[in-house]
């Protein structure tokens, strides 16, 4: 149902071939650090122009510029700190010591009026190449709004610099450009569509007029030496023309219709970085024209000059997409591929030059000006006021390379010009002129995330959530920033690399990754059904069951739903959550008898399981081993207990800790009372036995977790070996078996119990046990070390010997047989591990009586146990099993063995039995690995445990004592080994589970993730935050699937506060008394129940049951029509007791609306589906219990029974 379609688009970046990236990387550096190195060059001069800004023209000397506002014209001199101060009219010094000095406003006194307001300005150029009679670098030209072309001469004495004006344009002149090459030529472009060429030597009349269909918005004179008399014109309709000025109207060289979709406001002509291009052949002079328009685009046109055929390409080489309409474009000196863009956004489509204030406002009302300027200042902090000047790299068309933030500090920029490659002069609309240091510019790209994600929420119940993401890699010197310090440029030549230049291909994204995730409808597919099924069936911990039990339930749910994988996970989790710590360590000391009984059962079951691998051997072993086990018991119990002590500290599993509360251990005495040996052993056996048979194999094999189970099985066997206690139990059990192998009769069980009891009493262990107990208690919290197998054979032997002796002492002759079985099985395990101890075992005294059983079992289980790993696992599980055994034993005690057996048997086949039965017991059971084995088995255990609580303690005690003995018997190293093994196994399983969680999360199985997070977040290493995410996602999914009850359940029971808090929002229900219509206020403390049912105004109960006449404070059934009602329970009884009465059709006709059934709790309430009953259907209903004759409850006649039943 899910399909992921990852796509990967990768394109080589042509500018920097990938192969060279590493090679050239060290060449690159931040271009902001090139150039000028002194103090900050920022400096501002306020009121350089009239409000509304103006235009700038730079003088040839590079230090002065002329700033023309609407009615102002000033010469500004920019000086460095070390320069001498001139006594100019106005001056301003920046922080870095740089100065701006301004002349007076030349406009004043010129006699010009506002209709000659300046629209553009140009500073004429001196003669560079050509020897010319006249030098014009002291002349300034301004164009006027009324079509005047005005010349100013700076060399004039006095304040009046005005020289002359001439007027040929009828309408406003928009743009003015002087030739840098032929200094006496100038072109003007006007709104009347004319471009005129002027010879400054004789301005009385323009030389040439070239007419265009629409207004000329921008033009630029050619800067190219090879063809100096050319101009490019941008029109209002977006067309670009290139003219040979010598030819006049016939000299059209290029025409680009619709170059832009809007008026072209800016043009710049960049001369020939091409000529310096090493790569470019033919002394071809390559020119580039950049145009910017109101349509938010900037286009760079290639103008290749080769020979006579020079044409502008009809498609732009680069297209930039700034976020604003562009009013100025400027090539950045020394950076061939960079362009500065000035926004036109702030001028509302206006021509900026007349923006803010009228002269009258300016002069008459300074207050207003302040207000308006303060307005512009208010904009600054918001950042919405003005677009900063941006510097773009042509190769990257969608984002600026640098943003010159300082340029936006004074409001919109009306014009800008480069002082040099690292300083910009800008004129603001507020009238402020500023020099901006480009070292302070910022990289806008840093603010752009490289990862984007989009989520399509399904529409109206359509739950397909489609996810798409893109991610890009941030590389250090990616394209616009591959600047090379001028010092290093020679390296490029050495390496025969080409510096970046115009003509490089635009950047294409490299290695962007894009993916979409389409999730099929949850509803429609099978998996949708599964999801829903699981959502409904899954439990979470907090409803009072222990976690292992919950896992069982969930396992069943997933099995039912057919999700094997989920079932495996649940099984594994359940097994992991089952505490391994022997129960005896815990408080309850007495349930030994049960254990014994259980033991029988377990024996049979467990034995087979344990035996598995060595099935054949096991038979022999069993016989031989039988003796051993007996001996083991006592010894093993000690040793075990010791081991446990030691091991506990190591165990990592938190579960074990739980159980571990050492103080509570049963007193040794109690154990003594109950037959310790028997009980202890029995519990272990039971668990093991149960699991192995049916369910284990598949699950175990399938999942990584499986090893445990096998281990468990083995463990039981192993336990037999290692733990003396079990042996004892076994012995008894075996005895029982021997007596009645096929079906344990009560009598048998009794006997066995008795035996056990005797054995227990006899046991010398008791004393040991007590000691052990103490020790154990200290370590109790730790997980049990089940690593008995690891214990070197040498050590085992002694233990075994001991156990034998012990067992002998305890149970005497009767028991040996069971022990032998167990022992045999266990031994077999050991053998697997590598010991040849079978022989020893055989040699051991334990009678082979039990062998037969053991063999049989082994035969069955051999499959499972065959793996060597299992053995280890077993060891781990052994401890667990012990616990189980204990618990089971306890239960059993109360009843006769046979009974327990029967129960177990019954339980085994039917997995469906609810785990709920085993409330407290369950915990113990859960700890045991057994559960994991099979769902069925688990239940059984639970049940059995539930039944046999009482005995647990005793059994535990026994087990403890046994364990202790066994533990004691172990050497230090062996113990440690055991503990380590146990810890390892457990950790391995948890690890597997954690990986599974990741897998689920990756696969998007939110359900599983959320459930696991709810049940075992801590163990699985799911952080609170992540768990919350899982849960919220899951709940969201549930909500979308309209599984609201499931969602509510999770909210209620999940222990995430954030989630559960949502249910507390807006859940107050306001009620009013039906009689007096006054609201019922709960003034009293909430502890007083029933206040909601008492109207303080009427001083009476709000509702009185019309059946029992008592006030109703609980669930209420009330007919909304006749308002009679009462206890839901009363009504239920009443209505159920009487048949429905057919409602006369006349009534039913209007009865639809009248007869409404109301169900307060859904129990009784079936909604009246019949309300739409048509003629042929009959209505049946219950008449009002109050006798008013109304039918408070109606349904379709025929279906009634069924509905009611439900």
């Amino acid at each position: 149902m899910q399909s992921t379609v990852p796509r990967r688009a990768s394109t080589l970046n042509s500018a920097v071939p990938l192969s060279l990236v590493g090679y050239t990387a060290e060449l690159y550096s931040d271009s902001r650090k090139y150039g000028y190195q002194g103090p900050v060059r920022n400096v501002r001069l306020h009121r350089a122009t009239t409000n509304g800004g103006g235009t700038i023209a730079k003088s040839d000397d590079g230090l002065r510029c002329v700033v023309a506002g609407r009615e102002s014209l000033r010469i500004l001199r920019l000086s460095d700190p070390e320069d001498v101060m001139n006594n100019d009219y106005k001056a301003s010094i920046g922080r870095g010591g740089h100065r701006i000095e301004a002349s007076r406003n030349i406009w004043d006194g010129s006699g010009l009026k506002i209709d000659s307001a300046i629209t553009d300005v140009a500073w004429c150029h001196g003669s560079k190449q050509l020897q010319i009679v006249q030098c014009f670098n002291n002349k300034i030209l301004t164009s006027a709004r009324n079509g005047d072309l005005i010349m100013w001469d700076l060399n004039k004495a006095g304040n009046a610099k005005y020289e002359r004006k001439t007027k040929f344009h009828i309408r406003s002149i928009h743009k003015l450009s002087c030739s840098t090459i032929v200094p006496y030529y100038c072109v003007t472009g006007s709104a009347d569509g004319d471009m005129r060429v002027w010879d400054l030597r004789d301005m009385s009349k323009s030389i040439i007029k070239i007419h265009h269909p629409t207004s000329v918005r921008s033009l630029v004179f050619s800067p190219c030496l090879s063809h100096p008399l050319q101009a490019v014109v941008g029109l209002d309709n977006g067309s670009i023309y290139r003219w040979d000025l010598q030819m006049g109207q016939r000299g059209q060289l290029d025409r680009l219709p619709v170059a832009h979709a809007g008026p072209i406001l800016a043009l710049d002509w960049c001369n020939t970085p091409g000529s310096s291009n090493v790569g470019d052949n033919i002394g071809a002079d390559r020119s580039w024209i950049v145009s910017g328009g109101l349509d938010h685009t900037v286009k760079v046109w290639d103008l290749t000059t080769s020979g006579t055929s020079v044409h502008i390409a009809h498609q732009p080489t680069y297209t930039l997409h700034p976020s604003f309409p562009v009013r100025r474009v400027l090539w950045r000196p020394e950076f061939p591929s960079e362009i500065a863009l000035v926004s036109n956004e702030d001028f509302g489509g206006g021509s900026g030059s007349e923006l803010l204030a009228s002269p009258r406002l300016q002069f008459a009302t300074p207050a207003f000006i302040n207000a308006s300027s303060s307005v512009t200042k208010d904009k600054e902090p918001k950042g919405n006021g003005a677009d900063a000047v941006e510097i773009w790299d042509v190769r990257r068309g969608w984002i600026a390379k640098w943003t010159v933030e300082a340029s936006s500090s004074e409001g919109g920029v009306t014009d800008a010009i480069f002082r040099d490659s690292h300083a910009l002069w800008v004129q603001h609309a507020s009238g402020t002129f500023a020099q901006v240091d480009l070292r302070r510019s910022v990289r806008p790209i840093d603010a752009i995330p490289r990862v984007a994600l989009a989520w399509n929420v399904g529409v109206d119940g359509d739950t397909d959530g489609t996810l798409a993401f893109v991610s890009d890699r941030r590389t250090r010197w990616e394209v616009p920033y591959d600047d090379m310090s001028p010092d290093k440029r020679h390296i490029l030549l050495e390496r025969k690399l080409k510096p970046k230049c115009l003509g490089d291909k635009p950047r294409m994204p490299v290695l962007q990754t894009m993916g979409t995730y389409v999730r099929g409808g949850l509803r429609n597919t099978e998996s949708g059904g599964l999801f829903e099924h699981l959502a409904r069936k899954y439990l979470i911990e907090s409803d009072g069951r222990n976690r292992a039990a919950v896992c069982k339930v969930n396992t069943e749910a997933s099995i039912q739903g057919g999700s094997v994988h989920a079932a495996q996970v649940w099984l594994l989790l359940g097994s992991l959550l089952t505490d391994v710590i022997p129960e005896y360590i815990r408080p309850s000391p007495h349930s030994e008898k049960n254990h014994q009984i259980v033991v029988h059962l377990t024996h049979s079951n467990s034995a087979p399981a344990a035996i598995p691998t060595i099935g054949t051997r096991s038979g022999s072993h069993a016989s031989g081993s039988a003796s051993k086990p007996a001996s083991h018991r006592a010894a093993s119990s000690d040793s075990v207990s010791k081991m446990i002590q030691q091991t506990r500290p190591t165990p990592t599993s938190p579960l074990s800790h739980r159980d571990g509360s050492p103080t509570t251990k049963p007193p040794p005495n109690s154990r003594n009372l109950t037959p310790t040996s028997s009980t202890s052993s029995s519990p272990r056996h039971i668990p093991t036995s149960l699991p192995p048979a049916p369910a284990l194999p598949p699950s175990a094999i399938m999942t990584p977790a499986t090893p445990r189970r096998p281990s468990v099985l083995i463990s039981t066997a192993a336990q037999g070996q290692g733990h003396a206690r079990r042996p004892s139990v076994y012995n008894r059990a075996s005895a029982a078996h021997s007596e009645s192998p096929s079906t344990p009769s009560i009598s048998v069980s009794d006997r066995s119990l008795r035996h056990v009891g005797e054995g227990a009493l006899d046991d010398s262990d008791s004393s040991d046990g007590s000691e052990n107990c103490v020790v154990v208690s200290a370590d109790a919290q730790d997980s049990h070390s089940e690593n008995e197998r690891d214990v070197p054979p040498d050590i085992r032997r002694p233990i075994m010997l001991k156990s034998r002796s012990l067992s002998m002492g305890r149970t005497g002759p009767a028991h040996p047989s069971p022990l032998s079985r167990l022992a045999g099985q266990r031994w077999t395990e050991d053998e697997d591990d590598g010991g040849k101890e079978h022989e020893d075992n055989e040699a051991s005294p334990s009678p082979g009586s039990t062998d037969t059983d053991g063999e049989g079992h082994s035969g069955r289980d051999s499959e499972c146990s065959t793996r060597p790993q299992k053995v280890r696992v077993k060891a781990a599980s052994v401890t667990k099993t012990r616990l189980r055994k204990n618990s089971t034993a306890k239960r059993l005690k109360s009843r006769t063995r046979s009974a327990t057996v029967a129960v177990l048997a019954a339980s085994l086949p039917s997995p469906a039995q609810s785990a709920s039965e085993s409330s407290h017991l369950v915990k113990q059971a859960s700890h045991s690995s057994i559960r994991t084995v099979t769902a069925g088995s688990v239940r059984e255990q639970e049940q059995s445990t539930g039944l046999i609580h009482h005995d647990e303690d005793a059994s535990r005690a026994d087990a403890e004592s046994d364990d202790y003995q066994a533990w004691r018997g172990m050497t230090e190293s062996r113990r440690r080994a055991v503990m380590e093994e146990e810890a390892q196994l457990r950790e391995a399983a948890w690890h597997a589970l954690r990986e599974a969680v990741e897998e689920f999360a990756e696969a998007g199985d939110v359900q599983m993730c959320a459930m696991l997070a709810l049940i075992a977040a801590k163990e699985l290493g799911i952080s609170q935050r992540r768990g919350l995410q899982f849960l919220e996602a899951y709940i969201e999914l549930l909500t979308r699937l309209r599984l609201h009850t499931c969602a509510a359940y999770l909210r209620k029971c999940g222990d995430f506060e954030d989630v559960s808090n949502t249910t507390k929002l807006e859940t107050i229900i306001y009620t009013a008394c039906g009689r007096c219509r006054k609201p019922i206020l709960l003034s009293r403390a909430r502890t007083v129940t029933g206040a909601h049912a008492f109207c303080t105004t009427c001083k009476s109960a709000v509702v009185k049951c019309s059946i029992c006449h008592l006030p109703v404070r609980t669930l209420l059934f009330q007919c909304s029509v006749c308002t009679h009602g009462g206890h839901q329970e009363c009504y239920r009884r009443y209505h159920m007791g009487r048949p429905m009465v057919d409602i006369p059709t006349s009534l039913s006709a209007r009865g639809r609306s009248l007869i409404r059934e109301r169900d307060d709790d859904g129990e009784e309430g079936e909604e009246v589906t019949c309300s739409e009953s048509r003629g042929e259907r009959t209505l049946a209903g219950h008449p009002c219990a109050a006798g008013c004759g109304h039918y408070c409850w109606a349904t379709v006649g025929g279906h009634l029974g069924a509905e009611e039943a439900s």
Partner: protein, 323 residues
């Protein structure tokens, strides 16, 4: 298919001939000398072959008969294409026509031919007609200059002089026309046109109107009689609505005005409307601060603007009457 003639009177009187597609220079029924502008409409989705040759035919004929004639090409139904295709097709038509013209004779290379992308679903058609009209208005530079002065005196970024009934702007200031601004003004104008008739002035007394100090005696606009009532519904392309102007000619001294704030933010913009002649209205974008704090100044500028426009208008009328 017959030629339908429409009379439109804006600043200048217009007679618009709506010609069928199969009309030729010969079947037109009049000499091209009598026309000042030819508007040629091409469907952007059409096959260009035929229309282009037709256009070229007209151009060639016009150049011989009446070289001063203006040619405007409306590439219509632009809304039917995506943005990129639209521009591309527009450019293609542009180039085709020019190529054909050059084929005809290289002299036509510089033939001033204006192309407009138009659609009746936005205001581009009005914009195109406005530009067409601008070439016919002799007084345009003066109107434009008046607007320029108004703009600089009121800090307005953009001002239009609209013909209220057709919603064609007869002049604007020199700043480039932003499509959005233009659309805004058109919408505002049609809104006012729709609701204007619901209001009338209480005072018939010219004295009470705030526009009292008129130094020049304002002659009653008798000449305007033709326009407002004559319901001219232009068939074909120009969707000119003929709602009667909000001011009855009998009350020349009442000049309604209106304003609306365009953006709620603090340094916002206000769009103002001032009727300057019975058929012309000034729509201007003003900084809200200016409008709020210097209302009087704005009004004062409007008055002077109105005076200027009236004078131009009346002289035009006189000239018209004389001729």
């Amino acid at each position: 298919m017959r030629v339908a003639k429409h009379l439109i009177d804006t600043v200048i009187p217009l007679e618009i001939w709506d010609c069928p597609g199969n009309v030729t220079v010969d079947t037109l029924g009049a000499s091209l000398v009598d026309f000042s502008t030819i508007v040629f409409v091409i469907d952007i989705r059409d096959l260009y072959q035929h229309p282009v040759s037709k256009l070229v035919e007209f151009i060639v004929a016009a150049c011989q008969i009446n070289p001063d004639i203006n040619f405007e090409v409306f590439v219509h139904k632009a809304e039917r294409l995506q943005e990129d295709d639209k521009i591309e097709n527009f450019r293609q038509i542009h180039e085709r026509v020019m190529d054909r013209l050059i084929d005809e004779s290289p002299e036509f290379e510089q033939f001033p031919l204006n192309f407009h992308l138009t659609s009746i679903y936005d205001h581009s058609l009005r914009e195109a007609f406005s530009r067409m009209l601008h070439k016919l208005i002799d007084s345009l530079p003066y109107l434009e200059e008046l607007l320029n002065v108004f703009c600089s005196n009121t800090a307005s970024p953009k001002a239009f002089l609209f013909d209220t009934s057709s919603k064609i702007h007869v002049a604007t200031d020199t700043s480039p026309v932003d499509k959005a601004t233009h659309n805004l003004c058109c919408d505002y104008l049609s809104m006012l046109n729709s609701f204007g008739p619901l209001y009338r002035s209480n005072s018939n007394d010219p004295r009470t109107s705030r526009f009292s100090p008129t130094p020049a005696p304002t002659p009653p606009p008798t000449a305007t009689t033709s326009t407002p009532t004559s319901g001219i519904t232009p068939a074909g392309t120009p969707p000119l609505t003929s709602s009667s102007s909000p001011v009855p000619p009998s009350k020349p001294h009442f000049y309604p005005s209106a304003a609306t704030s365009l953006s709620p933010s603090r340094p916002g913009t206000t769009l103002t409307y001032h009727l300057v002649t019975p058929h012309l209205a000034l729509l201007a974008l003003l900084p809200t601060t200016v409008y709020d704090m210097r209302r009087g100044l704005v009004e004062w500028n409007v008055v002077w603007f109105r005076e200027g426009v009236r004078e131009i208008w009346e002289s035009g009328l006189r000239g018209g009457l004389e001729s």
